[in-house]
Symmetry: C2
Subunit: 197 residues, 2 copies
């Protein structure tokens, strides 16, 4: 595959924009602000992205691709069911830890929960996809006999996502040294509740 | 107690500012934006609040007072231990539901986790107070023999806060009709884990 110089530049811009968005918020990410940060011409960036909304959507798309590469795909190499849920969980913690401003999806969820429009819709879709991925892990674990028959997969996914939000809050706002440990205790208790006895 | 007209006005302004902040973010809340929203003169509001930071801190203080009135105080009328934790939990859900843009503390936690300064410090203090309040409920419940001896109160508080964040995400971003129910299932399971067997 041939990647043109233009495409590389675009990708580099989007990755920088994603880092910036996790810190100042996706709504704070105007084309002007990005141009200033990257020391590029505003008109050049306008030519690339046309509008703030397009920029925001493409930043979300960039985050989605990175999330798939860094969390979903490596998780899918683990055996189905509980081992895969554990892999998703650990990869997600690493993802939250390695991004300079935390998880873009967590930040954007708060920013856009009251802002109707295409950014919110795109984000809702991403979040549902991730919750489905987690719920599928539970369904597979139930089929494999790891979890109790009739386990409520959506309930598990909902609770696990809350744990991830709790980790994000404890680690990032409170700088809680035990954030990882407490989140792991919660996760093990959740697995234990679902496990076939 | 005599409340002057000036004080009433100030309180009314702060309450409106708080509602606005839950929707557009505390960082989006400039004196200019608030003046526009309230159709007041910008110079008049500057005379009241001096700076954006003072306005932000006073909005947080207003939210804190309301949280104490609407969640903490009513919760403290319940018997100590588990009944009080249940009261806090239900009051917190109501608080999240009744505020037009959700919980200001949840929103601000995401906005300010990367912004050092007095707003962040004030928020961290509020969050620690609330986690302490929850942990104290667990300690009291342990003393009363409701929870198992040696129960980890900070762990419980951490997990319960994550559930509240999970509720906020499901109810507000995803408009999940089962947000309340799923959060209650998680809470009951947490209580059950801690209960003296």
């Amino acid at each position: 595959m041939i990647v043109t110089k233009g495409e590389l530049t675009r990708q580099a811009i989007l990755e920088r924009a994603m880092d910036l968005a996790t810190q100042i918020g996706l709504e704070g990410l105007s084309i002007g602000r990005l141009a200033e940060d990257l020391k590029l011409s505003k008109s050049g960036l306008f030519a690339h992205f046309k509008s703030k909304e397009t920029l925001q959507l493409q930043v979300l798309e960039t985050a989605r691709q990175q999330f798939v590469e860094r969390v979903v795909k490596p998780g899918l190499t683990a055996p189905r069911g509980e081992p895969r849920l554990r892999a998703f969980f650990e990869r997600w913690l690493t993802w939250g830890r390695e991004n300079p401003g935390g998880c873009l999806f967590v930040n954007t969820a708060i920013e856009f929960d009251d802002r109707p429009g295409s950014v919110r819709e795109s984000l809702v879709q991403d979040q549902r996809d991730w919750l489905d991925q987690l719920a599928n892990g539970v369904r597979a674990g139930t089929q494999e006999g790891q979890f109790a028959p009739g386990s409520d997969a959506e309930q598990f996914a909902h609770e696990l996502y809350g744990m991830m939000l709790g980790w994000h809050h404890a680690a990032r706002l409170l700088r809680e040294p035990q954030a990882d440990e407490r989140t792991r205790v919660a996760f093990e208790a959740l697995l234990d509740r679902y496990r076939r006895k």
